[in-house]
């Protein structure tokens, strides 16, 4: 077997890569072609060559069977195939970091859980406790906001107008609603450090408020009336 020189189209580098482990083959780029030089064994001859020549000792290239040279081998920077065709790691199949935020959404659900809290107005609660029996108050707790909204918690709830909420995993959800999808609930309690010391009160539009545990006090007539007195500027 004698040495041959061939030229390949750049697109055929993938075919050449099949012989990448051959140490007797070198390659170089010249004039938009890949020049390959090596021993013309069967594997070499199966390359999709554009031209094939036999070089002589003076770097003259002879076409197969020709007695006169077709051209002189140009000065090329020959490289072993391992360098000419470097390897690279394939693109990672691992999931990328999520950069888009998922908006928390609530959707109606068919559940029939008992309501645990009711969001109402301070005036409404104040009117209720004035006439309500004490036995219906002593199991209740309430937290008031600066805007005179008040969240009353405890079962049974007082029969007053307001938005009722169910409680699960320290998340207060509007009655008849759940997360969409429901699995968000466990993610929220895992991710939100504040969920250990706060109740998370969600609204139907997905917005939520954090209410510290320490904001709740027992419902007594005096506690409600004193709180209402501090909110007279918004009542």
């Amino acid at each position: 077997m004698t040495e041959s020189v061939i030229t390949l189209l750049p697109a055929d580098i993938k075919v050449l890569a099949l012989l990448r482990t051959r140490v007797d083959i070198v390659a170089a780029r010249h004039q938009d072609l890949i020049w390959v030089k090596g021993i013309a064994d069967n594997a070499f001859r199966q390359l999709p060559a554009l031209n094939t020549w036999k070089p002589d000792g003076a770097n003259r290239l002879f076409a197969p069977g020709a007695l006169t040279p077709a051209l002189t081998l140009p000065e090329l920077a020959w490289q072993p195939l391992t360098e000419f065709i470097p390897v690279s790691l394939p693109a990672s199949g691992l999931p990328a970091f999520a950069t888009a935020r998922h908006a928390v959404k609530l959707a109606p659900c068919p559940g029939t859980e008992e309501s645990f809290a009711i969001l109402t107005e301070m005036r409404t609660l104040e009117a209720y406790i004035a006439a309500a029996p004490q036995v219906r108050l002593r199991h209740l707790r309430f937290a008031a906001s600066a805007s005179a909204r008040v969240l009353v918690a405890g079962v049974p709830l007082p029969p007053i107008p307001g938005t009722s909420y169910t409680l699960k995993d320290r998340i207060l959800m509007p009655a008849g609603y759940d997360f969409d999808p429901p699995v968000i609930r466990s993610l929220l309690t895992e991710k939100l450090e504040a969920a250990r010391t706060h109740f998370l009160l969600f609204h139907v539009n997905g917005a939520y408020e954090m209410i510290p545990d320490t904001s709740f006090v027992h419902v007594t007539r005096s506690a409600v009336r004193l709180t209402a007195e501090t909110l007279t500027h918004v009542l």
Binding site: V135, R136, R225
Partner: protein
């Protein structure tokens, strides 16, 4: 300032001190005691349902003195029973809603004293006096089971007293009072459909009455 210190200790600390001898309160002591009672009334009003009755200082001072002397009779065992009439005089005014609530500011401790005295000496003439006082001031004695009919007209005519009296019957789990015809509808209304949950014994009694 015996009465003043007595009221102050009762309200602020829950502990009272009384003199070793029966005595009459000085005018200055009564004036200062009235200031304490006025403040106590204003604070206590916030815990009353609806709008509390007005303050009747005469009734409030009478009740404070009455309670003071009652404690003396419990602690000073050497006192003769004949002194009860002299030193525990009945209230001379009309028992209006204002008088009932004002006297209750201190008479509300009567049931606790009743249990204490009964435990010390069930046959003590003071016990009979307790029952007599409880019948005259049922609003303050809601926790004491009474066998005889009591006049609840003044309580029933005032929504604040009526609701608070019902609260006290339920709070004391006083089944005998709750079953009385004049109290039963109010107790039932207060418990609503949660009687089995809030007061299971009452629920059982009501079911027995109905069935």
């Amino acid at each position: 300032m015996e009465l003043t210190e007595f009221i102050s200790g009762l309200i602020n600390e829950g502990n009272v001190t009384v003199a070793a001898d029966l005595l009459s309160f000085e005018e200055a002591d009564l004036r200062t005691a009235a200031i304490h009672l006025q403040q106590y009334y204003e604070d206590d009003c916030r815990e009353m349902p609806h709008t509390a009755p007005a303050l009747d200082m005469e009734a409030a001072l009478w009740a404070a003195g009455y309670l003071y002397t009652t404690v003396q009779f419990i602690l000073l065992r050497n006192l003769d029973a004949s002194l009860l009439d002299t030193h525990l005089p009945a209230y001379k005014g009309e028992r209006t809603p204002a008088a009932i609530y004002s006297a209750d500011l201190t008479l509300r401790y009567l049931p606790d004293l009743f249990l204490l005295a009964k435990g010390l000496s069930p046959a003590d003439p003071l016990i009979a006096r307790f029952y007599q006082t409880a019948h005259q001031w049922p609003f303050s004695a809601a926790a004491i089971p009474l066998t005889e009919q009591v006049d609840l007209s003044a309580i029933n005519e005032h929504p604040s007293l009526r609701q608070a009296y019902t609260d006290r019957i339920i709070q004391a789990r006083n089944l005998s009072q709750s079953r009385l015809p004049e109290n039963l509808p109010f107790v039932q209304a207060a418990l609503g459909s949660y009687a089995a949950q809030l007061w299971p014994q009452f629920d059982t009694v009501i079911n027995e009455i109905i069935l």
